[in-house]
């Protein structure tokens, strides 16, 4: 299906139209339960995201990169993954984290300023959030090489923004993937901005998807506000990867509805009208219309879903906030496999300089 959409011709994969009607030949044909689950994940993502912003304003959480507008891309992608697949995320991936089963309390804990939140629970194949833009891409390719060499049946997914495509690591990583035909799925969340820099100033290529031509594997642009389109493209690319068919680049065309982070003021560099246009394309609203058409949504179910989401989010906040801050031992312990004597001395000196309660 992916090959039917040529990025050089400006073709974009889309399953749902604005009214929520699915194109029959593209509809991935998910069960009602799965459709409902997709929606619930999107709602939970939005609820948790809004909560994080609130906590940040209250000084209870640090600088935060909101996901508003990205829910379809994040949830659609992660919902197509299996527990054997690996995920190399970037810093704006809340919906994927939740979908993959990462505890929200841990996620909050990280953004509250504790490394412990980056410790992926055993059994989940999720690499830590990558902050240096694009640097996770070659790592994901290395994971792909390992999967291949160890003959595992898994795909390796990595996400990044449109800005990240300008970094050398994007290029080097994708080029390696082409050469080694690794089981990678590269997902560019093209939200039209890298902080203040618009997509048109990030690259002169008409699409991000066509960059795959430089690496000898397929690239496809999908409507990133259409959860079924993202799901369908991801499912196909993942299957290709797992079965030895090599990598795919997916460009999820979407929009960052919020500020870049809580330190940013997007009003400085983009027009209200532009944002407003995209508000009308809200991925939740579109999917809700689809569910309604299928009789899978009504006001009552919405209330339930919202209440459940709010409840789970509150619990996660309480859990994260109940955790003690990192101790001196904790910030020293993981520097080396075995601590060198000098570091032990430094640790002892540091402890000696601190009040009892803060060691």
């Amino acid at each position: 299906m992916i090959e039917r959409f040529d990025p050089l011709k400006g073709e974009r994969l889309r399953v749902l139209d604005e009214d929520g009607r699915a194109a029959p030949d593209l509809d991935p044909g998910l069960s009602d339960a799965v459709l409902r689950a997709l929606y619930e994940r999107m709602v939970r993502t939005r609820t948790a995201d809004a909560k994080a912003l609130k906590l940040q304003r209250q000084g209870r959480l640090g600088t935060y990169a909101p996901s508003l507008g990205h829910e379809a891309a994040q949830v659609g992608l992660a919902s197509a993954m299996t527990a054997d697949d690996w995920f190399f995320p970037y810093f704006r991936d809340l919906g994927a984290y939740l979908t993959l089963g990462y505890p929200l309390a841990d996620y909050f804990h990280f953004w509250m300023g504790h490394e412990a939140g980056l410790r992926t629970p055993d059994g989940l194949n999720i690499f830590p959030i990558s902050i240096p833009v694009g640097s996770q891409i070659p790592q994901a390719v290395g994971a792909g090489i390992a999967v291949k060499s160890r003959k595992l049946r898994a795909a390796v997914v990595t996400t990044f923004g449109d800005g990240a495509t300008s970094e050398g690591d994007f290029h080097e990583g994708l080029n390696y993937a082409g050469v080694y035909r690794t089981p990678n799925v590269f997902v560019c969340i093209n939200n039209q901005y890298a902080i203040s820099v618009p997509r048109s100033h990030q690259t002169a290529a008409a699409t991000i998807a066509q960059k795959a031509l430089a690496y000898g594997f397929p690239g496809v642009q999908v409507d990133g506000n259409d959860v079924l389109a993202v799901y369908a493209a991801a499912r196909e690319a993942l299957a290709t990867a797992r079965s030895g068919g090599g990598p795919t680049l997916i460009e999820a065309y979407t929009y960052r509805l919020g500020d870049h982070t809580t330190s940013d003021d997007a009003a400085r560099y983009r027009a209200k009208e532009e944002v407003q246009e995209w508000v009308l394309k809200d991925p939740l609203a579109r999917f809700r219309r689809h569910l309604a058409l299928k009789g899978l949504w009504d006001e009552a179910s919405e209330k339930e879903i919202q209440a459940a989401a709010a409840d789970s989010v509150e619990k996660a906040v309480a859990e994260a906030e109940a955790r003690p801050p990192a101790s001196v031992d904790d910030i020293f312990a993981y520097t080396y496999a075995a601590m060198p004597p000098d570091l032990e001395i430094q640790r002892a000196e540091l402890k000696a300089s601190l009040p009892e309660g803060r060691r």
């Binding site: 640090g62 300023g113 490394e115 050398g168 203040s196 820099v197 100033h201 430094q346």
Partner: protein, 324 residues
């Protein structure tokens, strides 16, 4: 005029851009957004997109392009958004910016100024609190500058913009808006390669720079109360280093403490201590001590107070020195 350090930086840029039309400001979000810290605020509106250029997200290309721009007669000022993101440009800095003059025997030079916020203490995200100045102080050809006040920031940056050497200009994030200070609106230079004695004292010398200067001052005030007079040398230009000012102070006081925010091992404190040991050994009444972060990765916001030195830790070392 009363202003913060970040405003002083913006003013230095604006002043020099008005004087010298070869200066071009270059980097991620430096244009319409005015920089994520607003260090380039107002420049885009005043000088236009040809002289205040937003770049695609690629640090190696930013520095690499600056080299070509400089060689062809422009004076590029590259902003790296945080010091933790300078590493993709490391090759261009080490292999090219620093040595273009040498490798072409002076035919081409790269008078590029690379500005970047640095240091911990603002509770930022991972990789946003780095303080790896020592990496750059071992690169022949590169000048490394760190201001500790708004007025120095303006004068040092102005000097960097007028000089003919590539300069890495490190701006302590913690001081960007920490206090406001009187800064002359006229352009002026604070000379590079010269340290400043910012507090006089008889008993010991504290060598520091950037965000550690306020910490040194606080510690010095507390030490004074205990009867110890601490002299503070603000290095300002870390490389090439003004060893004479450091040595003169240590020869006078007989005791030295180096204070920096980077981990101890391989930090610039080692070079300073080694220099003192080499050239002022007989003046020393006590070992040269280093008060630094431990040899670990900067912790995230909630534990970063455990990481960087504070006045209390400095004071403990002052007492050790004095009791030696």
């Amino acid at each position: 005029m009363i202003m913060t350090m970040v405003q002083a930086i913006a003013q230095a840029l604006a002043g020099e851009m008005a004087r010298d039309d070869r200066i071009v400001v270059f980097g991620e979000d430096v244009g319409r957004d005015g920089g994520v810290f607003r260090a380039t605020d107002g420049l885009y509106d005043r000088f236009g997109p040809e002289r205040v250029m937003d770049t695609p997200l690629a640090e190696s290309a930013a520095v690499g392009a600056a080299i070509g721009m400089a060689a062809l007669g422009l004076r590029p000022v590259v902003e790296i958004q945080f010091m933790g993101f300078i590493y993709p440009a490391f090759n261009q800095i080490v292999s090219h910016v620093a040595r273009l003059r040498n490798r072409t025997r002076g035919r081409f030079t790269a008078p590029v100024v690379i500005r970047t916020p640095y240091g911990a203490g603002v509770g930022a995200l991972e990789h946003h609190s780095e303080s790896t100045e020592a990496l750059f102080c071992q690169i022949p050809g590169l000048t490394v500058v760190v201001p500790s006040s708004a007025s120095d920031a303006k004068g040092l940056l102005t000097a960097a913009l007028r000089g003919d050497d590539p300069v890495l200009f490190l701006e302590p994030t913690r001081l960007y808006r920490a206090e406001k200070q009187e800064v002359s609106e006229e352009p002026y230079e604070v000379p590079l390669r010269r340290a400043a004695v910012v507090r006089e004292g008889r008993d010991l010398t504290i060598v520091a720079w950037g965000a550690m200067i306020p910490v040194a001052r606080e510690a010095a005030a507390a030490a004074e109360a205990e009867g110890f007079g601490a002299e503070i040398v603000d290095l300002r230009t870390l490389s090439p280093m003004d060893r004479e000012t450091v040595l003169a102070s240590v020869r006078k006081t007989g005791r030295a403490l180096i204070l920096h925010e980077a981990p101890k091992t391989g930090g610039l404190g080692a070079e300073i201590a080694a220099t003192i040991g080499e050239r002022a050994l007989l003046s020393l009444n006590a070992p040269v001590l280093r008060v630094t972060a431990p040899d670990i990765t900067v912790p995230l916001a909630k534990s970063e107070d455990l990481y960087y030195p504070n006045a209390e830790r400095v004071l403990r070392s002052v007492r050790k020195l004095m009791e030696y």
